[in-house]
Amino acid sequence: MNRHTFFALLVVAGIVVIVIAGLLPTDVPASDSGVAASVATVDTVGQGACAFVPAPPAARAARAARRPQLKLGEKRDLGWSGPPIRIADWIEPSSELLVVAQSAVPGREIVALFNPRSSALRTLSERTVAQSLPMWSARAQALDEKKDQGFAALAQSHDPEAASAAYVNPELQIAAEPNGDRFIAWTSFGARFVDTPNAIECDLVVNRVEGRPDRPLIDVKWSRDGRFVALLMLADFDRLGPTVLRILDVQKGVWHDVAVGELAVSSVTWVPGRSVALVTAADLGAADGMDVMFVVDAESGAVARVDNAPVLFTPAYWGVRFSPDGTQLAASCVVPDPDGVVRRGSLCAWEVALP
């Protein structure tokens, strides 16, 4: 998809989302993070670049002393053993896992709900194999993709069955604020910041580097308190491997980078209710593809290794998700065979302790 197509899709997506957002019920409480203040940080309405700027080094240094902590309890099995499953989300109110499982049909995969209490897997829909995972928000707006349905759509429903009928273009991904008012539509080429209540749209250009091509985005995640956005991007255009993790403070209109030692960050998962993210990172010098867990304080950028954390195989693909209340962490605990192929998997979880 070229840039013209991308921006055309962004416009279509924006229109669709704004229309649907206007139809949505308004009983969902707005986040109390004060994100409305960020309106002042956007320089123009409907066009131009968002006015996010790098955080002043002095401010970052002053906060660097805040060292985040996150500890995991003993691993427990969630009762699934069989073909490997990818975890997309841990959804409310049913406390089920939104997952993607292999289909018997080549080139297809199943979007399903897994109930940890009953160990039952309930199919919602089938889709073309895709790298992106289906999404779920607090308003039960399911975002999924379907081949040949060319634009984004959101479903307005708390019913998973109905929600599964909603699709988003596979090349266009959306990171939505938990209360659904704002979202970022993105592809690897760039991102569009959309604030529907305030009718603000702007290009999120924090992946630009002076004197070199834009860094391709590979993941965008909005924190559950609505204040931060994590943007994971390749360190260099057209080269895989090394990544840059950039944390955007939507409230203050600033961003800063987070380095996890010499490792390449592979995934980001926000801890509900906290300005803290769980990131997984890998040593690119090793050939085993195993990732280590770290916890990042979004405000300061301070990083610490998660206590008692397991080493996971490619969690960016298989999924690591917190429960909505933040007390549990689920992961697809796949183990590759010696040839690097994952043939069987299990789902596991840990109790989370956050001081």
Binding site: P106, G107, A235, D283, G340
Partner: protein
């Protein structure tokens, strides 16, 4: 019937001869001889957005368009698949691992590193996968560099309709070579990483992967800073490679000039990989048809064959040269502070204080005439290959006094041999380093050369890349005073090694330190 018998006889004879020849090359005194492989087996996996292995095999289907499987659908009939290393594997790996916008010289170095890395696994019989755990291989990457489908599908570089970027990549791969350690014919584990500041990182399990100073990649130059985030720092820095050959501290733009600019992929490879040689790889089909390759296989002539060493033993690289003005007044003395690296395979060793190895220079004018040099800077008595780099000061008092114009100051490392001769590295096939300097007229100085027409004793005939002739042993140099006070650079702390490749054991072979051929030994 007779024709059929004759044909069968010919085929059998050819087969026996080929097998016998192959056997002869595979076994010498019981040791296996490595010959460049032509194919490698790859398990093609779906990849994550940054190229990690998902653990899921690509389906054998043209509809399989998951990332990593091929932008136009999975193109092979099986998975795992055996692919040709040059025209299928590397042609897609190189542009995936290094931005195609980089210098063609950097791309050539990248190709040699990727090829060596591939051979290392092929020799072990490893079935690799297409993820960044090995090298990112996404089928169709080469084709995607252009909107035109190459008209030679089996060997795209032979196509006559290549796009500009495809042609650039093919140019970088037209002289296929790979790296081995100097004391072995086994390919090196040629790791490389995107970027690393100041000094690369030792991989203690592979002797070629020693930490080396990389001053062009630094953290002091604003927007151009070298950022090692997510890299491992072993072996070649890809951004560093592009910095060296473009002569800028910025890998992506012509900003922040650096004092040194390299000309060849060899300089890059010998800088980042320690104690290695380059060897000829498989002849590309574009340059050698079946008959030519068959003849080359049996040829005992001087033609380069796959596996032959194609690099000289004695090499050096300048890393930084301070004190060089682009323009000077005639007769103005210079004092250059030079940081240089022994990039060869032997330690520069001497036994007396005057030094055996030194950094010398000559001036030449626009017509190419070379003039006397009267000084040199001695180098420390022990300079090991790779690291540490050496800092020395070269004082030049005999700057030309005129006429005004563009002159070339050419630097080269030289050695006093045991028999009293002076040998420049450029006579042994390595590159001297040339710096153009504009000479302006100086008040009160008549325009004349320092010793017009006199070629310096011990001056190499030509400071150009050496191509196959016999080393020239110069006459002894006399009457000059060596510079003093040079010391090796200290104070850098080697990085610790990271996780070794599974099953790898530390290499134990000792690097040779006694040069067998050149007879470079210090005068007692």
């Amino acid at each position: 019937m007779n024709r059929i018998r004759a044909f069968i006889f010919c085929v059998m004879t050819f087969g026996l001869l080929t097998a016998a020849h192959a056997h002869a090359r595979v076994r010498i005194d019981g040791d296996a001889v490595f010959l460049p492989p032509t194919h490698i087996g790859v398990r093609v996996m779906r990849l994550t957005a940054n190229g990690a292995n998902s653990g899921v095999l690509c389906e054998v289907s043209p509809d399989e368009k998951s990332f990593g499987c091929g932008a136009a659908g999975y193109p092979f009939a099986v998975n795992p698949v055996t692919v040709t290393i040059e025209s299928e594997y590397l042609l897609n790996v190189v542009p995936q691992e290094m931005p195609i916008g980089f210098s063609v010289i950097a791309l050539e170095a990248q190709a040699a590193a990727a090829r060596s890395f591939t051979y290392w696994y092929a020799r072990r019989g490893t079935l690799i996968n297409n993820s960044i755990s090995y090298q990112a291989f996404i089928p169709g990457k080469f084709a995607a560099l252009s909107n035109v489908t190459p008209d030679h599908a089996d060997d795209p570089c032979r196509s006559g309709n290549l796009g500009i970027r495809q042609a650039k990549l093919c140019g970088a791969m037209k002289n296929p070579r790979y790296m081995t350690r100097a004391d072995s014919d086994i390919p090196v584990f040629a790791q490389y990483s995107a970027d690393w500041p100041n000094r690369t990182v030792t991989n203690e399990y592979h002797k070629a992967l020693r930490a080396v100073d990389d001053p062009v990649s630094n953290t002091t130059n604003g927007a151009c800073i070298s950022d090692g985030t997510g890299s491992h720092g072993h072996g070649m820095s890809q951004n560093g490679a592009n910095r060296w050959v473009r002569g800028f501290q910025c890998a992506y733009s012509a900003r922040a000039p650096w004092s040194v600019k390299w000309e060849t992929a060899d300089q890059i490879l010998f800088h980042y990989y320690t104690g290695i040689h380059l060897r000829a790889a498989t002849q590309p089909q574009a340059e050698a048809g079946f008959l030519q390759r068959l003849l080359a296989l049996f040829s005992s002539s001087g033609a380069v064959k796959p596996g032959d060493v194609v690099s000289p033993d004695w090499r050096w690289n300048p890393l930084r040269i301070d004190g060089v003005p682009s323009e000077i007044a005639a007769g103005t003395p210079l004092a250059l502070n030079v940081q240089l690296q022994n990039t060869g395979v032997y330690t520069w060793t001497c036994t007396d204080a005057s030094g055996c190895f030194s950094l010398g220079y000559v001036w030449s004018d626009a017509a190419g005439q070379v003039f006397t040099s009267t000084a040199w800077a001695s180098l420390p008595c022990t300079v090991a290959p790779g690291d540490p780099s050496v800092q020395t000061q070269l004082k030049i008092a005999d700057t030309p006094t005129g006429p005004a114009g563009i002159y070339t100051l050419t630097l080269d490392v030289r050695a006093n041999t045991a028999d009293g001769n002076l040998v420049w590295f450029s006579e042994q096939g390595w590159l001297a380093y040339s710096i153009p300097i504009t000479l302006t007229a100086s008040a009160g100085i008549e325009g004349h050369l320092p010793s017009a027409g006199a070629v310096a004793a011990g001056t190499p005939a030509a400071f150009v890349p050496f191509v196959g002739s016999q080393p020239m042993i110069s006459t002894p140099e006399t009457g000059t005073t060596p510079e003093t006070g040079t010391t090796p650079e200290t104070g850098t702390t080697p990085e610790t090694g990271t996780t070794p490749e599974t099953g790898a054991t530390p290499e134990t072979t000792i690097m040779p330190t006694q040069p067998p051929a050149l007879n470079i030994r210090c005068t007692p």
